[in-house]
């Protein structure tokens, strides 16, 4: 089953706005933007849209990355032939960021922040004074607080917002234009999935296939009945 994940939504606008303000900030202000929130809230969709807007460089971190792997990944994104030593690589990245004025987006940054790799991030920021966007899960602000040198260079914190009713309406309309979802159904779904768009998308797909089986073109909570929502929790064992 393939479920489409995104439509430009609240979080897309929030991140794009923050990056806009950071790229046009007055001289002397810090240039880090940090977006954080649970998985499935549409952070990557926000990153994709903002990356296109500013022709940003985008890297997605892995847990296993060393400092060198991180630097090489950024240079690969920049299509720059890497220099031999790590300090030269930091120079290359910094020069490219400050001359091209393009932002750097580091996704899944929670993997880096608790390790020595975080210092590479500080080096790059200090040498370039460019705009760097950190995107990660809920614990990113706490991890950043431990790295004082990075923490006080954050210009703007962008907490990813839980999906709103409007977001769900937009998602439903763009995924299944021929089916009408009643508001009470979407409200109930949003409560059950606690604002997680990815789970909502999975459930909309379920509703759509049931509605097709029942030959409905309008579904509300009553028609959906007691079928329940997929919330990612394993089913509880039935009493015998």
């Amino acid at each position: 089953m393939s479920v489409t994940k995104i439509v430009p939504l609240t979080n897309v606008g929030l991140l794009a706005g923050a990056i806009n303000r950071a790229t046009s900030r007055p001289v002397g202000l810090p240039g880090l933007v940090a977006m954080y929130g649970p998985s499935g809230f549409g952070k990557s969709a926000a990153a994709a849209y903002s990356a296109n807007m500013h022709r940003a460089y985008y890297v997605e971190c892995r847990d296993a990355w060393s400092k060198k792997a991180f630097l090489l990944a950024i240079l690969r994104e920049m299509t720059i032939f890497p220099a031999r030593t790590m300090s030269e690589m930091v120079d290359q990245i910094a020069v490219q960021l400050s001359t091209s004025m393009r932002p750097l987006i580091v996704d899944d940054v929670q993997y880096l922040l608790d390790k020595a790799v975080a210092n590479a991030l500080t080096d790059i920021y200090n040498a370039s004074q460019g705009t760097i966007v950190l995107i990660g899960e809920e614990r990113v602000p706490a991890s950043l607080a431990k790295l004082e040198r990075l923490h006080n260079r954050v210009l703007e914190w962008v907490p990813a917002q839980a999906a709103t009713l409007d977001d769900l309406r937009a998602l439903a309309k763009s995924s299944y234009p021929k089916l009408v979802f009643a508001d009470d159904l979407l409200i109930d779904l949003n409560q059950a999935t606690r604002g997680c768009l990815r789970r909502a998308a999975v459930n909309l797909y379920k509703v759509q296939s049931e509605a097709a089986a029942m030959m409905l073109d309008h579904v509300d909570l009553k028609a959906w009945g007691q079928r329940g929502w997929f919330t990612g929790e394993a089913p509880s064992r039935r009493a015998r």
Partner: protein, 246 residues
């Protein structure tokens, strides 16, 4: 001025990228002749690009003595590793940005429909229609980059990367070939057939005047070698003299 940090672009390069790298390496002072020699591009094209950069206020003329080819220029605004994409009047070109955005969105989101991709790619004056995105993705599916989900009348097709085909930040360029054949069924013969690529020229066709000159000279030299026993003919000698006179 300190040492310039080396920023050489990896992978294949377009001619303007070669010119830009030559300009960056000689940013304190360069002439058309220097850039042409360092980048291996014909003077005429180097001149056009430098003038476009002047119109965009990236370079300035510092010394106007002597021949035009020896005028001294200087880089005033360094834009990093990638060559600035400019029209001849110095305005920024957004040519190719639509495809770049589609490719970038695909690499970030890993999986999406053509409609979503078009929406993600349409920013900052770039317009990408759903049909255009679908067209590009369909070609990429044929080329083995993407895998499309099965057709389903209820929902749009989604596309995702085939394993290991996220080859890097630069988008694959689609080149269309034009081919024409004329067949005569009276004589049962193929009268005419031609295929040529539209867009970037293929390697077998000379791309610029340097390459053309090179081909011409090679032909002359082979003729000389072939006539080594009998001595060169009058017409061959005349043609050789003409080449030298230029």
């Amino acid at each position: 001025m300190g040492k310039v940090t080396q920023l050489r672009v990896s992978g294949g390069k377009v001619p303007k990228q070669h010119m830009w790298e030559a300009v960056r390496e000689n940013q304190a002072g360069f002439s058309l002749r220097i850039i042409s020699a360092a980048s291996g591009q014909p003077i005429a094209q180097v001149k056009a690009y430098i003038l476009a950069m002047r119109n965009a206020q990236l370079v300035e003329l510092v010394d106007e003595t002597g021949d035009v080819k020896d005028h001294r220029w200087r880089l005033v605004r360094d834009e990093g590793a990638d060559h600035p994409r400019l029209r001849s009047n110095g305005q920024r070109s957004i040519h190719g940005l639509g495809l770049e955005n589609l490719w970038r969105a695909m690499r970030i989101l890993k999986k999406m429909t053509a409609a979503e991709a078009a929406e993600m790619a349409s920013v900052n004056g770039v317009r990408v229609t759903q049909a255009y995105a679908l067209n590009y993705f369909t070609v990429l599916v044929k080329a083995g980059y993407l895998i499309a989900s099965n057709h389903d009348s209820k929902r749009a097709q989604t596309f995702e990367f085939a394993h290991g085909m996220d080859t890097g930040p630069r988008h694959p360029v689609v080149q269309r070939m034009e081919s024409i054949q004329v067949f005569d069924s009276n004589t049962d013969k193929m009268v005419y057939s031609k295929s040529a690529s539209v867009g970037i020229s293929v390697a077998s066709e000379p791309a610029n005047d340097v390459e053309q000159e090179n081909l011409r000279l090679r032909k002359l030299v082979t003729e000389f070698v072939e006539t080594s026993s009998t001595g060169p003919s009058v017409s061959l000698l005349q043609r050789a003299q003409l080449e030298l006179a230029e």
